[in-house]
Amino acid sequence: MNLPINLRFTVDHEWIDDTGRVGITDFAQGALGDVVFVELPPVGTALKAGESFGVVESVKSVSDLFSPVSGTVAAVNTELVSQPELINTDPYQAGWLIQFTAPFDVSQLLDADAYKLQIEGA
């Protein structure tokens, strides 16, 4: 499984990088299956860590997205409107969801090793 060491993770399978970009993990996209629809908040939305900020839908199911940190949404990946499958094919790069404005606090999040333990235990 693809698990970049430079990212921080939530137990709900979101990642965040040091530029504030957020997405879902390779494990999450695999469990979800083909993503066909994404619903994301508008730029400027203020979110609290753990708050639901949107959904990703596969053919079969709907999954909530949870914010890894508290902050304000600075950018939204509009490519996903026409190409939601980017979440499956490139979950850590082209498949990003939203981006937070710095600063944001990642001290409560898991590193790659801790996240790996989390999903292996699941």
Binding site: V36, F37, V59, K60
Partner: protein
């Protein structure tokens, strides 16, 4: 949880298994979209061994079945099959099923996995009026493999002894040999494509399955089966059909034989409903700006609930959201624009002609 003769094969080949109708069943082998398109463009292979099979035999078998279901099993030729709702006296549906005429006085009922126990009790209760009919439940001994898609006939023919190409729709060969294995070969399916359903004994299931895979059929899970049947507007029990929805409301009027000699269970209620006219029906919807899922509400301008989505998905063939919904008759004409609440957001849906997808 129950398993089928193929469960271990599915596990070994990367299937995502989930509970369905009390059975552990493959939902997909990696991609519902790819499995769906394989069935539309080539051939998909489905393990549907969870379906239940009852054998009804004896001099009263055909009369007993005529009373149990709305269609007319006594009118079947030998080696012909039919689809029928089976109703409660109130007109709601116990189950929808296939009935095969194996011989003059021998029939096979094929019922939904989730309804096997309920159907068995229902049939046992009404069979008492027909001493010349015996019913046996052979669900646990029988496997069922469906091969569906435009190349299904070629693949089956390449593995079968004798002529299968001329087998007509809703007909079957009771003693066919496919992949060296004895099967009941039926030209039926639940995908909107040409194809076959092969009934066989559990012990031969893996051998036949592997022969079909080697011959070019792609394993497909229940996820794709659901999107395929929805595009073809085929009802699913528990969604478009239930104890609270009659065959007339579900658009299955053609499968109710008003002209049969004896009565059938539900006849009075359905005649009455037909006479007074249905007040709600299942319609097809083209959903804009979201995916409507089963259970989502259809509302009017004041956001008062007027109906319910019964099934909804992203259509892999049409690349858009489609749904079936139970709505008031006055909202059911093609072109009507309805409102569905998706996570509290009002989304428009247009009533469209069904099936959503029709094979060329």
């Amino acid at each position: 949880m129950k398993t089928t003769a193929l469960t271990q094969w599915h596990q070994r080949h990367g299937a995502k298994l989930e509970e369905f109708g009390g059975y552990s069943m493959p939902i997909d082998y990696g991609s519902i979209l790819n499995e769906h398109m394989a069935v539309r463009t080539g051939a998909g292979l489905f393990d549907v061994s969870h379906m239940g099979e009852f054998i009804v035999r004896g001099p009263d078998a055909s009369a007993c079945l005529d009373q149990l279901v709305t269609n007319l099993p006594s009118g079947l030729e030998q080696h012909q099959a039919l689809y029928s709702p089976m109703c409660y006296a109130e007109g709601g549906v116990v189950d929808d099923l296939l009935i095969y005429r194996l011989a003059d006085e021998v029939f096979m009922m094929v019922v939904n996995a989730s309804n096997i126990d309920k159907d068995w009790e229902w049939v046992m209760r009404h069979k008492t009026e027909w001493p010349g009919a015996t019913v046996t439940n052979v669900s646990n001994e029988m496997a069922l493999i469906a091969i569906q898609g435009p190349t299904a006939a070629d693949i089956v023919a390449s593995q079968a002894e004798g002529d299968i190409a001329s087998l007509e729709y809703y007909h079957f060969i009771p003693d066919a040999v496919v992949g060296g294995v004895p099967v009941l070969l039926s030209r039926t399916g639940y995908t909107g494509e040409d194809g076959f359903e092969l009934y066989l004994s559990n012990q031969h299931a893996v051998a036949l399955w592997e022969r079909m895979v080697d011959a070019g059929a792609r394993p497909a899970g229940l996820g794709a089966r659901d999107t395929l049947r929805l595009e073809a507007r085929l009802p699913l029990y528990g969604h478009e059909l239930s104890a609270a929805i009659t065959p007339l409301e579900a658009g299955l009027g053609p499968f109710v034989r008003w002209d049969k000699k004896g009565s059938f269970i539900g006849h009075e209620s359905l005649v009455q409903q037909k006479r007074s006219g249905i007040v709600r029906k299942i319609v097809g919807l083209d959903v804009q700006g979201g995916i409507a899922r089963a259970g989502y509400q259809v509302v009017d301008d004041q956001h008062t609930v007027i109906g319910t989505v019964t099934s909804g998905t992203f259509s892999p063939s049409l690349k858009k959201a489609i749904a079936l919904a139970l709505v008031p008759i006055e909202c059911s004409t093609v072109g009507s624009v309805l409102t569905i609440l998706i996570r509290g957001r009002a989304v428009h849906a247009t009533v469209v002609k069904t099936p959503f997808y029709k094979r060329r």
